[in-house]
Symmetry: C2
Subunit: 369 residues, 2 copies
């Protein structure tokens, strides 16, 4: 069923989307602020993917760049709509709706900014079911919808259209080059598709799931219940049914560099009570977690670092020495674990020499809280 | 008057255009081969700029990249026409003619490749009156025609459209980023304009001048006359009326690196008979020549390194230790020396802290041969 989203939902949505962003996807405060500024007292229609007309024409919108730059280079707000309009002109066809390409503090919000500016509805689905660092890492592409042509808009009104046919990795490579030359952040419209394509290729209902997650964490805190129980209860009936506590401890080392348009690095989290340390490697998003050298969770499963008490998600660019955190592993939907999906965004796509093993098998026993 | 160009003209044209390329503009052998392959026994109509219909729609075509890469990465040949077609589709309008953006071994030839493939005529004019390293360094831009939208095509069929409004430097910056990510070479269509714009903003008749130059050098060699006299006689009645011999000597040092998509470096040419050495600084093209520390020629005037006997032009990527060379200074047309023109492609545009002084004033006395 379609539903209306208002400014009152944004704080919960930002929190939940940032959790699903698995360390990436951008800063939730900035994302929330961008939508609030244009939405005011209005509302946005959120469309259920199962109810879309087959012929509905959907143009997803997003921000691309290194999260370390995104927090310093805040968009004017008009760029994503300019990207959408640029792609519409290029295709000679106007969009009936927009949609996120990933979950995250920024990229769950950008389509809402476009919706608030244009009046378009937003489809409750996305193409990553989490956040990934590269534009080619989309379930859309895995199941046959390609990203080209892509439109990219810059803060000084620059408009770029990139068409690499069915080669989504080359599209990512060229768009990243433009983004770097725009100062590290660009806004994009890509993966234009029909309603039927959305149902076939997108991870469904991730906006409503993020909102439910963020709300359940808040309500648990207000009721003095465990927010970790709330997370597990909220996800249990969804496609993300397994939640595992991977580690509790203190951030003791963060190595981070912004290179080639990405934030890359690793974080070490010392264990409580003399336990082994957990090490996380990230490229914008958390990719792999090892504890005492042993694999405990790996991409595309979600590795989420959160405050040890409040469960507030912490992005990779927000990691700081001394933070007391819990690390959660969350299972991704089966459509993200097929051989084709793992070829696009499994460990080998990041140069990690490990075979994907589902988090619920790696940590069969661990309760979440 | 319009005229027909055939394969028999290409060797002379390539030689003359490479001389005017002032060290850049690409390898003449590759440029000639690209045209021969598609032209065969056919001919290309070359249009005189003074006879263009005001409303004629002209889309210039070119290759962009570092000459050091261009000689190793030879285009399939279809990319410039793909760039033209991409820009036509973007603009919703088909070209009536194409035109060079600069003089040079490659970029005087690319429009001929497009013409041979499409049947379009080529306008006898260009936007640099020589070669320059950056797309914003065009008399077109100086006199009010801007480069955007630009279309760029890659060897695997990649199509990119870049629109930065009136900001031609930002267009150059973004297109260079794409070119680097395509491996160092891309093909472009840009500065679309009317016949009236061509007359107002282009350097006229540089194709026929290059052909006349190349032919006069060949005929002088065949007649055992000085090719340097032939160069001076050919240029004397044109807009490039002053030719000066700046130096005779031997290349004793070349420092060259390909960085940020450009070939940058310097060459030292020892003097004959114990004379001072001449030092040339280049960025794709020769920018400034100093002899014994004293300025002898500076951009936008032409600094041309040629074989000391045959006058065969030598590009910056062709400079080698031990070559015996002459260095010529050639005056550029007055439209390239106005304050607006010097702001776009005078010394300061290259970070050179010198005031432009015309070569005919710096070397008032020196005969050419």
């Amino acid at each position: 069923m379609s539903w209306q989203l208002t400014s009152a939902d944004l704080a919960d949505l930002a929190r939940g989307a940032t959790l699903l962003g698995t360390g990436g996807g951008g800063d939730p405060y900035i994302g929330k602020m961008l939508v609030e500024r244009v939405l005011g007292d209005g509302s946005i229609t959120i469309l259920d993917p199962d109810e879309l007309d087959d012929e509905l024409f959907v143009i997803p919108t997003a921000q691309m760049g290194a999260p370390t730059v995104m927090v310093e280079k805040i968009p004017a707000g008009t760029e994503p709509t300019l990207a959408l309009r640029t792609l519409e002109r290029h295709l000679g066809r106007t969009a009936d709706a927009t949609m996120p390409i990933e979950c995250g503090g920024i990229n769950s919000m950008i389509p809402l900014v476009v919706a608030a500016e244009t009046g378009l509805p937003v489809v409750d689905a996305d193409g990553m079911g989490r956040a990934f660092p590269e534009l080619s890492m989309e379930t859309f592409a895995v199941y046959g919808v390609h990203g080209s042509p892509l439109a990219l808009a810059g803060e000084r009104g620059e408009q770029v259209v990139i068409d690499t046919g069915t080669d989504d990795r080359q599209m990512e490579w060229l768009a990243r080059g433009i983004t770097i030359r725009l100062g590290g952040v660009g806004h994009i419209a890509e993966y234009a598709m029909s309603g039927a394509d959305v149902r076939r290729t997108a991870v469904p209902r991730t906006i409503s799931m993020a909102l439910a997650l963020g709300r359940s964490i808040r309500l648990a805190r207000e009721a003095k219940r465990s927010p970790f129980d709330a997370i597990a209860e909220t996800l249990s009936p969804t496609l993300y049914s397994h939640v595992r506590e991977l580690h509790v401890g203190k951030v003791v080392d963060v190595e981070r560099r912004t290179t080639e348009g990405f934030a890359r690095g690793r974080a070490t989290i010392a264990g409580s009570d003399g336990d082994d340390s957990l090490e996380i490697v990230f490229q914008n998003e958390n990719l792999v977690a090892r504890r005492g050298g042993e694999l405990v969770a790996i991409v595309p499963d979600l590795i989420c670092v959160v405050d040890h008490e409040t469960a507030e998600p912490i992005t990779t660019e927000g990691l700081r020495y001394g933070q007391r955190v819990r690390v959660l592993g969350i299972s991704t939907p089966e459509m993200m674990r097929t051989p084709e999906a793992l070829a696009a965004f499994g460990p080998s796509a990041f140069g990690i020499d490990e075979t994907f093993v589902p988090v619920e098998r790696l940590r069969a026993e661990t309760p979440v809280a």
